[in-house]
């Protein structure tokens, strides 16, 4: 494993499978009455959130606390950042406090990369989402969810997603989730298809390791998983598509469309869902929809990532048990 997790593209297949396997171990902790390991006791992790994201921050915080890390939450709102302090200044303050890892969320693409590579700080850096660039732990939790559903919880150990066909639908252009997923799923051997109106696909997408389609209906019958991406309503004002109604007709997933998917295929969404536009309530509430599982799996994945980045080189739970008994 590398020292930082900035991009899903930085992960080799073996790195990714190791994280997924470690996350399975971490998931077992959640089944215990006391959901806690002493693995990161004495380590300090800062959640440095320059952009609001309650869901991701709570997921990281839960993961850190289950590993017994000392957690500091830093949000930009009301902080010295709003008084003009730069990312560099903030980083150096944290460095002076001796933090071991920084989980950073930032509206600017590349901010975590700069934090990790500019010599401002010595801690491990975990990208919790930067601009429209990357969100690697989201991709990992998505892959973890797919492996569990499509390969099997125990049967999946040590395995990747070779040959699985995954379709991502929606605002690819502005989605760090899409970028991260394309990179990771390709590394794990899956065949990815992106579906969106041409206005919501980035220039140069033809060079990405995936297929591209403007037509959702033609991809459904050959998809093992269909992942819907959030479409921000303000995009309509920028003329990315004419109306919410037209978007929903062409790219929304309803019961009729879900019926075209193979029986084993799942529906995914990184949340929060816009019901009625991207996904109907019928689909969102069906047992084929993994949205709630994805949230649960997010904690396991983030535990695995923090454990591995902060020095774990043995199976996490096996390593932790003797310590627990002391």
């Amino acid at each position: 494993m590398q020292r930082h997790l900035i991009s899903a593209a930085d992960l080799t297949r073996d790195d990714a499978v190791l994280i997924l396997d470690t996350a399975e171990e971490m998931a077992r902790v959640a089944d215990r009455p006391i959901k806690k390991l002493p693995t990161l006791r004495g380590r300090t992790v800062v959640n440095l959130f320059f952009e609001d994201s309650t869901r991701t921050r709570i997921s990281f915080e839960a993961a850190e606390k289950r590993l017994s890390a000392d957690v500091i939450n830093f949000t930009a709102k009301g902080s010295s950042v709003s008084k003009g302090e730069s990312l560099k200044d903030t980083a150096q303050t944290l460095e002076a406090m001796g933090v071991d890892a920084v989980v950073i969320r930032h509206s600017a693409s590349g901010a975590p990369y700069r934090l990790a590579t500019s010599g401002w700080i010595d801690a491990a850096v975990v990208n919790a989402g930067d601009g429209t660039h990357q969100h690697p732990t989201q991709a990992l939790l998505d892959a973890f969810t797919m492996r569990r559903r499509l390969v099997g919880r125990d049967a999946g150990l040590g395995k990747d997603l070779d040959g699985r066909r995954i379709t991502l639908v929606g605002d690819i252009l502005h989605s760090r989730v899409a970028r991260s997923n394309v990179d990771l799923l390709h590394t794990l051997g899956a065949e990815v298809t992106l579906v969106a109106p041409p206005t919501l696909l980035p220039v140069g997408v033809e060079t990405w390791p995936c297929e591209v389609s403007y037509d959702l209906d033609s991809t459904l019958s050959k998809s093992d998983a269909v992942m819907l991406l959030r479409v921000q309503r303000e995009r309509m004002n920028a003329a990315f598509f004419p109306t919410e109604r037209e978007y929903s007709r062409r790219y929304g997933l309803d019961g009729d469309r879900m019926a075209k998917m193979p029986g084993h295929a799942i529906v995914m969404h990184p949340g929060p869902m816009v019901r009625g536009m991207e996904i109907t309530a019928e689909v969102a509430d069906s047992d084929r929809c993994t949205v709630v599982e994805q949230v649960t799996n997010g904690v396991s994945i983030r535990m695995a990532v923090l454990y591995l980045l902060l020095g774990g080189n043995e199976p996490a739970v096996a390593h932790a048990r003797p310590t627990e008994e002391k």
Partner: protein
């Protein structure tokens, strides 16, 4: 008056000759010259060029003296071999009145390192809606001939048309920063494969090309001359080539960095590569070099854009756009154009001195190196290769993309009207 004898210099890259400077003028060019009491500079085969002229410099004064002042900027210019720079209007306050342009012009005269010709804003406050007092700026002591809202595009077609028409009255030229604003909202870098991968807002080539296409047609329609700042795309080159073939009075510039660097460098997220217009692709770089060689692009202009350290030592999105260029321009041109065989030194003199002076109507600069001409000269050690060390820059700012990069060529001497401003690489 003092005399200087430059012995054995390759004038415009030709055979070694001696050049005698007497006072502010070139007195004689020939072989075996001697002069009683003259200070002798042994050129030893270095290349002697007319003092360089930069049609596109940001000196930041008034208003951002923490980035650059007229004095530090002109010292940087002298270090880079320049004897005349045109100072862009996007200062604070904006150079949109006779008062501000006269202030900049006067500070240039007082610096003594390099002549400064202020560029006047086309519109009040660079806001694009109301013409600035173009005539008053021309009639001021500064004698403004070039007008530009650089940093912003004059995007309103009617305002652009009126500006082009109006400056005909005093042989002025409008220098356009071609950037369609709606197409570049949120733009952070060149739109393409790299921007998509990095998740940075894209600045599409068509945002530049569409404005250039419109403006050359406007210039044709009103019979005026238009200058296009910092061309950055292969498509822009094609439009300018077409316009020239049609007889439209258009000139264009390219920056040294657009001749050398590509958007692949942005993968580092290092804001030192953040510039407007953005670094483009290898294909664009090739097209720009060829266009500069064949004359489609008339001149090299630095777009010297100094910023203090803290404005660049941050995350990409927060960083200021621009890079310094006066002190490295000639080296980059040697690397990309001369050492590649695309341009000889006479061509460099044409693109970096003669033509920019003509476009800006800078009398006294961009003149031949011959008897009777003003002694604005620069001597270049073309055999030199070394790593760029910004610690030695005369500019107040250090935001260069070339730190640690090996580049050829070094300006050793600069003379402004016969007075040495740079001797053996050191400012006087």
């Amino acid at each position: 008056m003092s005399k200087t004898l430059i012995r054995g210099a390759k004038v415009l890259g030709g055979e070694p000759q001696d050049v005698l400077i007497d006072g502010g003028t070139v007195a004689e060019v020939g072989t075996g010259l001697s002069a009683e009491g003259a200070q002798v500079v042994e050129a030893g085969g270095k290349v002697l060029l007319p003092g360089l002229v930069d049609l596109h410099t940001h000196l930041r004064e008034p208003g951002r003296e923490d980035s650059e002042t007229v004095l530090t900027g002109t010292r940087a210019a002298a270090s880079g071999g320049y004897t005349n720079v045109f100072a862009m209007a996007n200062t604070f306050p904006v150079a949109d009145t006779a008062g501000v342009v006269e202030q900049v012009w006067r500070l240039g005269k007082e610096s003594g390192y390099c002549d400064v010709q202020p560029i006047g804003a086309v519109t009040v406050g660079l806001e694009g809606s109301k013409l600035a007092e173009l005539g008053a700026m021309h009639e001021s002591a500064a004698g403004v001939t070039v007008f530009s809202d650089d940093g912003k595009c004059v995007h309103d077609a009617v305002i652009m048309r009126r500006a082009l028409e109006y400056v005909k009255a005093f042989d002025g030229v409008v220098a356009q920063h071609a950037q369609e604003p709606r197409l570049t909202e949120g733009a952070q870098m060149n739109e393409g494969v790299v921007s998509a991968e990095l998740g940075l807002g894209g600045w599409p080539a068509v945002a530049e090309e569409s404005v250039i296409a419109r403006d050359v047609l406007l210039a044709e329609h009103v019979g005026s001359r238009v200058h296009i700042c910092h061309l950055s795309t292969a498509g822009s080159v094609e439009i300018v080539r077409w316009a020239k073939s049609r007889g439209i009075d258009v000139t264009a510039e390219v920056t040294p960095h657009h001749l050398l660097l590509t958007d692949e460098l942005v993968r580092s997220y290092n804001p030192v590569y953040k510039v407007n217009p953005p670094l483009r692709t290898e294909r664009d770089v090739t097209a720009l070099r060829e266009a500069l060689a064949d004359g489609t692009i008339d001149i090299v202009a630095t777009d010297h854009a100094p910023h203090p350290h803290e404005d660049k030592d941050c995350e990409w999105a927060a960083a200021a756009m621009g890079m310094v260029g006066l002190e490295t321009a000639l080296s980059v041109v040697q690397e990309t154009m001369v050492d590649t065989g695309l341009l000889d030194w006479a061509g460099v003199a044409d693109r970096m001195s003669f033509k920019p002076a003509q476009i800006g109507r800078a009398t006294g600069h961009g003149r031949p190196v011959s008897a009777g001409e003003p002694a604005n000269l620069t001597l270049v050690d073309t055999a030199y290769r070394g790593q760029v060390d910004p610690a030695g820059f005369a500019s107040r700012s250090r935001n260069t993309p070339y730190e640690g990069r090996e580049l050829p060529g070094r300006v050793t001497h600069t003379w402004l009207r016969g007075k040495a401003t740079l001797v053996d690489g050191k400012l006087t």
